[in-house]
């Protein structure tokens, strides 16, 4: 999984937690891990900005009575059955206050700003394909060539380029598979050995290319 795909699933991760694949990516990508941490903090803090409930009606009645006794408030308490300008118990739902709405809006704006800043930093294509090459399992991009691979191929004689390209695709797919297996079970000695072998295969291809390019 690469950063782009991971960030597409961010809303679900924040809401209901990530899958094992998401967790694996977080372990290997400090940028995305930092982003998730910030977003979770904002989500937690945003809950505190929810509108406050109005106090119990008896409180309002007590205040009204006090103000009337002091002669500071005209009018009288609403008789039972008549509507009151103060919220009734039935109206004590989660009514919003203007301040609460503004703060919630600010939280959303902050959320969007952080997403925008972290959103898929303009990685060069080579780095993107390198991430795909190193992290993808045996799927569409697991055998992708990075910029070093392409440069190496271009430096070979025309009759050898096909062999180098196919070999590099093969070993990149090997590395991707071996990395995934090793990440799934770090204690598996066979997986570690296969990963080491995969890197040695790629090293061999580069060594042959380098030797070929020497005068």
């Amino acid at each position: 999984m690469d950063c782009q795909k991971f960030q597409e699933t961010l809303p679900f991760i924040i809401e209901s937690g990530g899958t094992g694949e998401d967790e694996s990516h977080l372990k290997t990508c400090p940028d995305c891990a930092s982003l998730v941490q910030d977003l979770r903090y904002i989500a937690e803090q945003a809950k505190l900005l929810l509108p406050m409930h109005d106090p119990n009606p008896r409180v309002w009645q007590g205040i009204e009575q006090s103000l009337q006794r002091e002669g500071l408030l005209e009018g009288r308490l609403s008789p039972p059955g008549q509507s009151s300008k103060y919220p009734t118990p039935q109206q004590q739902a989660k009514s919003t206050t203007p301040v609460g709405s503004i703060l919630a809006l600010l939280a959303v704006i902050a959320f969007a700003a952080i997403l925008f800043n972290y959103h898929l930093k303009q990685l060069p294509p080579a780095a993107l394909s390198a991430q795909n090459t190193s992290a993808e399992p045996a799927q569409l991009n697991s055998d992708a060539l990075n910029s070093d691979d392409r440069q190496l191929i271009s430096q070979q004689a025309p009759d050898a380029r096909t062999a180098y390209e196919s070999s590099l695709r093969d070993v990149n797919a090997y590395i991707a598979d071996a990395q995934k297996a090793a990440a799934n079970d770090p204690e598996d000695a066979t997986a570690q050995e296969l990963l080491q072998d995969a890197y040695q295969q790629k090293e061999m291809v580069y060594e042959m290319a380098t030797a070929r390019s020497l005068p």
Binding site: D159, D170, D197, A198, R212
Partner: protein
């Protein structure tokens, strides 16, 4: 009159036929001469110190190596065009000798024009390193250390003993036969590796997608390690083979048709269809077969 006319016609027809045959022969000869005009056959004898190293760098054509008596390297090569030449270099102390094919300045030979065919006789104990692009490499009866590398040329090694053999290949097959008491290290990406009667202290072959086929007894008490990513591993052992064998495929399958005794102590838990292990006879040689997604088969000879 009529008879004379007829005889004359016959003589003319025979003469015409003879003329045509002669012209055809001459034409064929001319073509042959033209075809071989650009080929140059050369021979050289090069001194080399005992235990020295011979390096051969050749892109296209072929390289054949075999051992010989004496203390000199005997090189015979055919250059197929006048656009390439062979440089012969050696150090002052004759410890290192190099044969290198290269294009002449300002020349851009085609693959056909760049071909050079080598046949080299190597003294006993001399180490050899050969590197080609597409030229097949054939080595037989060598006794020194051998390093062979080719992107697309087939590599064949026969009858090597008490040596250290290192092979690097990309897409072409690697074939070893009757290589004994030798440390073998083979790496290939998609080229298949075939090992017939290959034994030694350490035999290691690793491919990415190429298949590995081993036929022999894994004798000598050595370590045998065959590894692939997606290539298949096929091993055929005689009933007398004395091996401690482990086979594991991460996502592929394993199939054992060779009688093995269960090991009393395993470093891992065998998984049906994915791995197995066991010993045969005294289990003197260690055999490890590993693949990520390839199929592993072991059977009895």
């Amino acid at each position: 009159m009529l008879a004379a006319t007829t005889n004359a016609c016959i003589r003319i027809a025979r003469a015409r036929r003879t003329l045509l045959l002669t012209a055809a022969a001459g034409f064929a000869l001319g073509v042959s001469v033209t075809a071989h005009a650009a080929e140059t056959h050369k021979e050289a004898k090069l001194d080399i110190a005992s235990g020295g190293t011979l390096n051969v760098i050749n892109g296209c054509g072929s390289v054949i190596l075999h051992s010989g008596s004496g203390h000199q390297i005997i090189v015979s090569y055919i250059v197929h065009s006048d656009k390439v030449e062979v440089d012969q270099n050696s150090t002052n102390n004759k410890q290192r000798v190099e044969l290198r094919t290269h294009a002449l300045p300002d020349q851009k030979p085609t693959e056909e024009e760049a071909k050079v065919d080598y046949e080299i006789t190597v003294p006993a104990g001399v180490s050899v390193n050969v590197s080609t692009t597409s030229a097949p490499i054939t080595a037989e009866n060598l006794s020194g250390d051998v390093g062979l590398s080719s992107e697309t040329g087939q590599i064949s090694v026969t009858n090597v003993a008490r040596s250290h053999l290192r092979v690097r290949s990309m897409t072409a097959p690697v074939i070893l036969k009757d290589v004994t008491l030798t440390r073998v290290d083979i790496q290939s990406t998609s080229g298949g590796v075939t090992l017939n009667n290959v034994t030694g202290q350490r035999i290691a072959a690793a491919t990415t997608s190429g298949d590995i086929t081993y036929r022999g007894d894994c004798s000598g008490g050595g370590d045998y390690l065959l590894t692939t990513h997606s290539g298949a591993i096929n091993m055929t052992l005689p009933p007398t083979a004395s091996v401690d064998l482990t086979a594991r495929s991460t996502t592929g399958s394993v199939d054992n048709a060779f009688p093995l005794e269960e090991k009393h102590h395993n470093t891992f838990t065998p998984q049906q269809g994915r791995s197995f292990s066991g010993t045969s006879n005294s289990g003197s040689s260690s055999v490890e077969l590993q693949s990520f997604s390839g199929k592993i088969r072991v059977k009895k000879q």
